[in-house]
Amino acid sequence: MKQTPETAFSHRHLLGIEGLSPIDITTILDLAGGYVDQSRRVHKTSDLLNGLTVINLFFENSTRTRTSFEAAAKRLGADVINMTVAASSIKKGETLIDTAMTLNAMHPDVLVVRHGNSGAVRLLSEKVDGAVINAGDGRHEHPTQALLDALTIRRRLGKIGGLTVAICGDVAHSRVARSNIQLLQTMGARVRLIAPPTLLPAKAERFGVEVFTDMREGLQDVDIVMMLRLQLERMQGAFVPSVREYFRFFGLDREKLSYAKPDALVMHPGPMNRGVEIDSELADDIDRSLIREQVEMGVAIRMACLDLLTRPLRETGAP
């Protein structure tokens, strides 16, 4: 694997997979490979980002993603500030832009932002001086999740191009699905969406994907099955009639998985609803499930993103 310190990665922020070239994506994945090794050492911390400040600004509750970003920044030696803004304090009158301006005055070098509204992270990025990483905006994008999924796949199968990947479940409300569709297609994989029609985005077929409403049909000969989380409030009549009906027709179990390639692998962005979208025992099967590996790759990908986005800053030494 070739390491290129003088990379051509020219993006100021990481707001989405849209706009990233195959070379950009490969650059991030290559760099992250090294950070996997660093994370497996006993002494995991380097001083690459010494003196730099990373703020994790989360407008939505998240333990996993925030912790992953925090671990990544700390392993690179940055100072990390976690800020969780409850929806209630926004309602008190402080707008997103007010919050952005306030934090900007504290001179963060990187802002990692999650927000419940699509487009909100882009809006914030226009008002701050530092680099912004989108940690999930509404139903729009969650680029580091797609990148960590890509790294997981590449390490296990050696490639992404030419694979057939099925993304199953609540595609309509999923930022993970949107980022993954873009990334997988950019890297030359074929993408299928499998979901009940109520959970498919409008005009999904225009995304250049194949669309299925039957799991067995859609899973035929796929290499990778990506399951999506179904939010509790969407299970009880609003989009699907019940949990048991959903699991029966759209939950992944061994029987449905048998339609995929014999060695097909299973992924899930977490947190899982066991017995809703995925069979509990299958999720824990280390031969088929990549779920734990995904979490490990998450930290490495986020280290790579922090590294790349702070390079101009560290090279010039000027804020």
């Binding site: 997103l96 509204n117 809006l123 225009r206 995304f207």
Partner: protein
């Protein structure tokens, strides 16, 4: 009203009602149109108080904008009657009709009279009001249609909201007939629109925004037309935006129902792609639609299915628009861009100049029972003088509305207002006019 005689010489006289389009002169006497035509002042200098040389530019009836949200009373930081009036005069608008969604709501005679009095005091643009169709715009009880009509309400609507309850809508249409009331519906089935913020489709899926399916519009249009068949009365659909609903209205008109409709410039000049990267100045209700729907709106204007164009002026301050797309307010301003956008229908060869002007003059005047909208001897001199071809670029910061949320900022257009006249008095005059 202005005492005295003012002569407008060397004008291209346009009257959308009669189709008049000829060079000539127009005489205003004590605020009224005294005479006009090619014959006027052909021999000898007129004996008048003032002479305006129109230099061959277009002189037409002042524009009538039947769908304007003003924020007075209640939200004067966004717009006042005075600021809207100033914007209207720069836009060639001489009469406007205000939606009832103020605070308090215009569902009561004293509120209506407050607006009428403020408008009289300003002595600028003629401002009329809709009455609320239901009390508090809540959709549950019909408002005092009779008393409000008597006090001067020109039509009845729940404004930005659809009257969703079919039973109440049926009663309102039926009751309104006793007062010959014009009922105006915002056609959008709320249970389908849900929490949607833009048109449902590929673009909404890509941006991850909740969509409003186009079918939400035609369902409400079809329902109300069925009700109209039973109740009779006069029905008008505000801002229609989809091919399907325009087709349904076309058939209803052919069947003889008393129905009309309007649209706004953004629905014939823009499509959903204007949202780009979450541009909240393109967030409107109903939402900007697909390109094929936009083309259907143009076709509806050309064949007369769509009778009227109104600006749909909805002023919002920065705090209401500089937000994530989901949370930003719906609406754009439009008073100062109405004329050039109407003229674009002519410049793009969709229709003749008088046909384009009819959409904002004689058609709204007739449907809403307003004076003006035509050149007539003895009628109030509400006029606009404009340069048909002058190219310029829309600059929202140069606008006179208190709010700057234009969807057309930076757009190159043709056609500029030179002078706006209400009851003979110039409210705005460009240099040299």
């Amino acid at each position: 009203m202005l005492k005295g005689r003012i002569a407008y010489l060397n004008a291209r006289l346009l009257d959308p009602e009669t189709g008049l389009d000829e060079m000539g002169a127009l005489l205003v006497e004590d605020g009224m149109i005294a005479d006009f035509g090619a014959h006027l002042f052909r021999t000898g200098a007129p004996s008048v108080n003032e002479v305006i040389d129109c230099q061959g530019k277009c002189l037409s009836p002042g524009l009538i904008d039947v769908r304007v949200q003003l924020r007075e009373p209640g939200e004067e930081h966004k717009e006042t009657l005075a600021s809207a009036s100033l914007a209207a005069s720069h836009g060639g608008i001489t009469t406007l009709v205000q939606l009832p969604n103020t605070t308090p709501v215009i569902d009561d005679v004293p509120v209506l009279e407050f607006v009428a009095r403020r408008s009289r005091e300003l002595k600028r643009t003629k401002i009329f009001c809709y009455g609320a169709l239901t009390k508090g715009l809540k959709g549950h009880e019909i408002s005092e249609i009779g008393l409000l009509s008597e006090a001067g309400a020109v039509a009845f609507t729940d404004g930005e909201r659809a009257l969703a309850d079919a039973k109440i809508m049926r009663r309102a249409m039926s009751y309104g007939k006793a007062f010959n009331a014009l009922i105006v519906q915002h056609p959008e089935e709320p249970s389908l629109a849900g929490s949607g913020v833009m048109n449902n489709g590929e673009m909404a899926s890509k941006l991850g925004l909740a969509g409003i399916p186009p079918v939400a519009e035609v369902i409400m249009v079809e329902r109300d037309l069925r009700l109209l068949e039973g109740t009779g009365g006069r029905l008008h659909f505000a801002h229609v935006t989809t091919a399907a609903s325009i087709e349904v209205i076309r058939k209803a008109k052919a069947a003889g129902l008393d129905v009309t409709c309007d649209t706004a410039p953004h629905y014939f000049a823009l499509n959903e792609l204007a949202i780009g990267d979450y541009r909240t100045f393109a967030k409107v209700s109903p939402p900007l639609r697909s390109e094929s729907d936009r083309q259907a709106v143009v076709a509806g204007l050309v064949d007369g299915t769509i009778d009227i164009v109104a600006s749909d002026h909805a002023p919002h301050d920065q705090d209401s628009k500089r937000l994530p797309f989901d949370e930003a307010a719906f609406g754009v301003i439009g008073l100062e861009t109405l004329l050039p956008m109407i003229l674009s229908l002519y410049h793009n060869n969709h229709m003749s100049l008088n046909e384009a002007l009819a959409l904002v003059t004689t058609h709204p005047a007739k449907r809403f029972g307003l004076t003006g909208g035509c050149l007539k001897r003895g009628a109030p001199a509400d006029l606009v003088l404009f340069d048909l071809d002058k190219p310029w670029k829309i600059d929202e910061d140069a606008m006179h509305s208190k709010s700057k949320n234009s969807a057309f900022g930076g757009r190159p257009v043709q056609g500029k207002v030179l002078r706006t006249v209400v009851d003979g008095r110039p409210l705005f005059a460009a240099d040299g006019f």
